[in-house]
């Protein structure tokens, strides 16, 4: 019981404390690829500390949504962390409280609050970003559902812990077309949902071209810090789902001993760093897609995921 609670806290701490580091590594790697030096990998921590210390200014005509949204955006990834296998491959305390579809809906709460708060803030760019984010969101929905359907079909369950145990066994299944194609499809969805190139440029400053970033323009001080941190955590959580459930469900602690958990922390961090390297490669190779081309990008992801589903169901 104590162990279980301790493991859960360890999971939460992992996501809470290490997600800014992953974001910092991603930014630094991108800058190095562009032949620049880039900021320190600890810069996001400094940014958060600075923002927490600043005063907050709130638009006069905004409602309670604007004030509540940052908290929702911060808490939601933490709730999802409780549901997914982060460090252990055996189910923990909250494992059966929600399955993958539930996790998806919980993310949707955060998305809804963020979208509405952006419009509530009164900034025209915020409203524009909100509608664009919704477009990308609903286009990515079919892909997510097909992916979830396929993995659930194999594992006969939608609980992430159980899926993780059945998905890539035996090892030869790593090369199964359903596996590889699902990886590609879900990777494309991660790029879309976390607002990375080629869907959206996270380092862009031009408000008319922003999709995700412009929603956060009105927030300041503590709210801005919470939204930033929530964004880092969302990326970390999606990566963990991608890696620990779908791609490489290995390297997780199989017992509750501290040594195992420590090794698991290191291995999961390593996996996330490899994923970051791949994302950096993809981001540095492609230009941002024009807005109406995003539907083509996600349609391609859809085709790939349906092909994965076909090959899985027809046992090819």
């Amino acid at each position: 019981m104590i162990q279980s609670i301790a493991l859960n806290i360890a999971q939460l701490a992992f996501v809470l404390l290490l997600s800014p580091l992953f974001a910092g590594v991603l930014t630094r790697c991108k800058e190095i690829v562009q032949s620049k030096r880039g900021p320190s990998v600890l810069q996001p921590y400094r940014d958060l500390r600075k923002l927490f210390a600043k005063n907050e200014r709130i638009p006069e005509d905004s409602s309670w949504l604007f004030r509540a949204a940052p908290y929702v955006i911060f808490i939601v990834p933490l709730i999802v962390t409780l549901l997914i296998p982060v460090l252990t491959n055996f189910p923990l305390f909250f494992a059966f409280a929600g399955d993958m579809l539930g996790a998806g809906f919980i993310f949707a709460i955060s998305g809804m609050f963020f979208t509405l708060a952006a419009i509530d803030g009164g900034n025209p760019y915020g409203a524009m970003g909100a509608s664009r984010t919704r477009m990308v969101g609903f286009l990515a929905e079919p892909v997510i559902i097909i992916v979830l359907f396929t993995v659930s079909f194999v594992a006969s369950s939608t609980i992430p812990y159980i899926v993780q145990q059945h998905w890539v066994h035996p090892l030869a299944n790593f090369f199964a077309p359903s596996h590889v194609l699902l990886l590609i499809a879900f990777f494309m969805v991660i790029l879309a949902e976390t607002g990375r190139l080629p869907v959206d440029n996270p380092t862009g400053h031009f408000e008319l071209a922003m999709i995700d970033e412009s929603k956060a323009l009105e927030f300041s001080g503590r709210s801005a810090a919470l939204i930033k941190w929530g964004g880092y955590m969302k990326f970390a959580v999606l990566s963990i789902v991608f890696l620990n459930v779908l791609t490489t469900p290995w390297g997780l602690a199989s017992s509750a001993s501290p040594a195992d958990v420590a090794i698991a922390v290191a291995l999961v961090a390593l996996k996330i760093l490899i994923l970051i390297a791949i994302i950096v490669a993809v981001e540095s190779s492609y230009a941002k897609l024009r807005l109406f081309r995003i539907s083509e990008f996600l349609a391609a992801a859809f085709v790939v995921s349906v092909t994965a589903m076909i090959t899985e169901i027809l046992h090819l």
């Binding site: 077309p177 083509e296 027809l314």
Partner: protein, 221 residues
Amino acid sequence: MTQLVIELNALVLGLFIISTIAMTVTRQIGACMLIFVVQSLLLAASAFLLGASPFSWHLFALGCVTLISKAMIIPWLLRVLTPKGNYYRRELSQAIDIPTTLLIALGLTFAGYAFAQHLVRAAPNLSPANISMGFAALLVGLLVLAVRTEAVPQLLGILAMENAAFLAGIAIAPDFPLIAELAIAFDVPLLAFIVALLTRIAYRQVGTTEVGALAALREGP
């Protein structure tokens, strides 16, 4: 055949059908050509994988010939013979927009699978997956022909259909007489050569290679 070989072959097939679908939607002629090369490499890989377990020199020869003639000779021929300049980077227009094309391609993949299923159950063969994917890719190749209006992508669509037919063929008839190698080694480059010449003629005489848009010959006034 070992489990690993079966899984790898299935992966190669999955990527094969994805590359065929990608041929319907790429926006540049150069990208279309690259995807065709990838597709030919995947076909050669499948031939090598299927020829590995009960060792069949015939399949190995087929794979080698495919590699040389489709992955090397044809792209070189097309590059040498098609119009110079920015030809390969021009953006292609689509006959129907991309998401619709992708959904139709998906539908055709299902149709091809369904059609191949009753065949696969009927008789023994080396790899049922190859046959299903071959039929599906044949239909998607037909879609490439239908939606493309430019000369080189249409040619690549026909070659993709041949790739699909041979993909089904290597599982069906691993000891098919030398004809298959002969066909791939001589027939296919000759095809590419003649079509490239025709494209050149079209470019010189008509001024464009958008042959799908030529519609002067028809019934009625």
